[in-house]
């Protein structure tokens, strides 16, 4: 192991992905769950960039996928935070166990 290759970068992104999964499963607070989702999306971005660099350096597809994922993540975070703030105004809590407004 005397050169950083694809495998090492993929190890980092895999571990980061499952850190995000652990956070998503254990946290009961909507803002921290959103943070865990951001970690997961970032690990996917690392994967795209690493595959682009080490396997398909003749194309730029991984770069474009990363740019579009970052854009969509920004849109998703904005909408999610708007929903969280609205929920907080209505029920004074952002705990997922207490959010039952849509229960019929």
């Amino acid at each position: 192991m005397n050169e950083i290759g694809l495998t090492q970068v993929l190890f980092v992104s895999t571990i980061l992905f499952f850190i995000g999964v652990y956070g998503f499963l254990t946290r009961r607070n909507m803002v921290t769950m959103l943070m865990a989702i951001e970690l997961i999306l970032n690990s996917v971005n690392i994967n795209f960039v690493a595959f682009n660099k080490f396997l398909y350096a003749d194309k730029l597809d991984g770069t474009f996928f990363t740019i579009f994922i970052i854009t969509i993540a920004a849109a998703e975070a904005a909408v999610a935070i708007a929903i969280i703030i609205h929920l907080y105004r209505n029920s004074k809590t952002i705990d997922v166990n207490d959010a039952d407004l849509m229960k019929f």
């Binding site: 005397n2 050169e3 950083i4 694809l6 495998t7 090492q8 970068v9 190890f11 980092v12 895999t14 980061l16 992905f17 499952f18 850190i19 999964v21 652990y22 956070g23 499963l25 254990t26 946290r27 009961r28 607070n29 803002v31 921290t32 959103l34 943070m35 865990a36 951001e38 970690l39 970032n42 971005n45 960039v49 660099k53 080490f54 396997l55 398909y56 350096a57 003749d58 194309k59 730029l60 770069t63 474009f64 990363t66 740019i67 579009f68 970052i70 854009t71 969509i72 993540a73 920004a74 849109a75 975070a77 904005a78 909408v79 935070i81 708007a82 703030i85 609205h86 907080y88 105004r89």
Partner: protein, 171 residues
Amino acid sequence: MSASIIIFYILAAIILGGGILAVTARKIFRSAIYLLFSLIGIAGLYFFLNYEFIAAVQIVVYVGGIVVLIIFSIFLTHASGADMQEPKLIPALFSAFAACFACALVILLINNHTFIPTSNTVIEPTVKTIGRQMLSTTEHGFILPFEVVSMLLLAAMIGSIVIALKTKPKA
């Protein structure tokens, strides 16, 4: 051990340490700051891989945009000095087991797989080549997804304003 390997492991330690602390910290504001460190480490990893444009976008959008948005939402919805409740022990234990086993499985698969790189000529991911291909209308251009994603951003912006708008009390 050359310098680039040491730099890579320092970046990996920042990313993973920040990530672990971000999902386990008991104070929500500290959790957001650890997330910030993790995202900056990821931008450093993009610099390490020579993708300067992606690294700049990562810093501008994530560090400058999303984390600030998250911190503002924390200020609007929390007493940010207060501790969050501990996760229940049994579900936390099972979540940790599930994440560890899945992580071990994926790492094993990556370790046993041989990746075959392409032998074609390399394109450098400079801003010039990225911009030319993104706005080109020829066969491998990305102008259509570019326009679609701009519409998506506009829709998300209007939607979040409408959702977060304060509704007037009915007279």
